[in-house]
Amino acid sequence: MGKTTAEKIFDAHLVNEPFPDTKVLRLDAVLCHEITTPIAIDDLIRRDKDRVFDPTKIKAVIDHVTPSKDTKTATQAKILRDWARRHGIKDFFDIGANGVCHALFPERGFIRPGYTVIMGDSHTCTHGAFGAFAAGIGTTDLEVGILKGVCAFRQPKTIKFNVTGTLPKGVYAKDVILHIIGKIGVNGATDKVMEFHGSVVDAMTMESRMTLCNMAIEAGGTSGICQPDMTTVEYLWPFIECEFASKEAALADYSQWRADADAEYDQTIEIDVATLQPTITFNYKPDQVKTISEIAGTPVDQVYIGSCTNGRLEDLRIAAQILKGRKLAPNVRGILSPATPAIFKAAAKEGLIDIFMEAGFCVTNPTCGACLGMSNGVLADGEVCASTTNRNFMGRMGKGGMVHLMSPATAAATAIEGVIADPRKYL
């Protein structure tokens, strides 16, 4: 019997199986940010175990509230900063170099096919785009990961999503994943891996695959996983060219992590995107989705483009294409937060930042900020935000505020019209 990608990774990283169905895995990357890590650090100090299992496998960033907005957030940043220095964690990203973790770490080449990755952040599933097993965990799992380099998981079952057809104009990875979550529900993949296959995924850039995998958790999934291929190799090539004689050699090596043709799946779900429309959430759960034709015309107060879901260069290009030469509707304020400094720089060089600013957008530094109602764009009670982020829980972007999740294209069209709008007429 063949294996899924997650099964192959589990087998290759198994430390032991202390109980049936419980697998302790060796970790290749432990990612840290300043919200969930400081309490782990404090606890390790309190236990007289202020150690790290391997400083080269730990990556840390201050990203959720940066620059710090008050004494508390400055203290969290300081705890992480001091700890990274104390333990010689070289891959630590502070102001000037910091960006949204799930955009920054892949951009630095830290995530490779076949890796096991944990982070005290639910959207860690993003990194499965590289053919890795990447799971969000809590602070205690993080603490043990930092100290011992291991984490325990139940053997996950895998749902195969076979995404076929041709993406229509104005429809993107974000629409595909919102459609999938709408189909299977917010706990449709709980304790399961969502493995994405099919011609649509094969044709996607790494950025789009990250968007797809990013929202696996919104269906309860442990990790999203895409199959490593030449697109993966091309993305990683600047970081791996000293490891492999050629791209073909890298591909041959990474292909060991591709699911076997005879792998057994818990379920296989066929998704045909040929008739898919721009898809948008309504209400307060990510599985509550409507097509643009059902929801167009809904007024919004703010448009937010950014986050680990859709704050990458590809996303900025799509939004800028629609915004070019146009203005924000007078009733709407627009916020752009490029997800990393490299994205910000590239967007400036390409003239995208000019387009956003000409349209009337405020451009902020890279940070998670507004997505979880921490800073840089928090909503007032009763306000509505059209957002390229990943979670529309009640009050997520500010107490009493409402969030409609959508693609960067739909967000840009919405910015122009001041109501949820169809991006296809601008493309």
């Binding site: 236990r47 639910s122 809590g138 979880l372 109602g373």
Partner: protein, 175 residues
């Protein structure tokens, strides 16, 4: 080992998420104790008030499917713990929340819907209480002069974590 049980807080809705349990704006607190006043602050549910005595006195939460979905924040189990709630009983849990509970040495117990329906039918009784026996894997509901015991499933690993008082101590001994 911790004892599990006491007055029940009934939260009769599915998909109660971590933002409702503890809003993100409080994640800047450095100690668990500082989270205490903000328990379930953003949960809007008929008959529920995060500030009333029912919430204050509760030791067990009873809820429906997919409890604890959303963020990985362990602040969700912590805000329960510092308020004296060390067990959540639900039809199902989101993976990260469930693991966080066991990792803290607390109990996340799944019961079939029919059993939950029966326990929810006692939600009007002011003396509704549940006691939980981890070793025996049973829980006993009492209230209004009635008493009924339900068996529950618990994986050996999760049970070991509860008995060890959490994952850090357990992992430190074994790895």
């Amino acid at each position: 080992m911790k004892t599990f049980g006491g007055p029940v807080l009934f939260l009769d809705r599915s998909d109660i998420n971590t933002d409702e349990i503890i809003p993100a704006k409080y994640l800047t607190e450095i100690t668990k104790e500082d989270l205490k006043p903000y328990i379930l602050e953003d949960l809007k549910l008929s008959g529920f008030d995060p500030k009333d005595d029912k919430t204050k006195n509760a030791r067990v939460i009873l809820s429906r499917a997919n409890f604890g979905c959303g963020s990985s924040r362990e602040h969700a189990p912590w805000v329960f713990e510092v308020n004296g709630i060390t067990a959540v009983i639900a039809e199902s849990f989101a993976r990260i929340f469930r693991q966080n509970m066991f990792n803290c040495g607390m109990a996340a117990i799944e019961l079939p819907k029919a059993d939950l329906d029966l326990i929810f039918s006692h939600s009007g009784q002011s003396d509704a209480a549940i006691s939980i026996n981890i070793e025996a894997q049973t829980l006993t509901m009492s209230g209004g002069g009635n008493q009924k015991t339900f068996p529950f499933e618990l994986s050996p690993f999760d049970k070991a974590l509860i008995l060890a008082g959490g994952w850090v101590d357990y992992a430190d001994q074994k790895y």
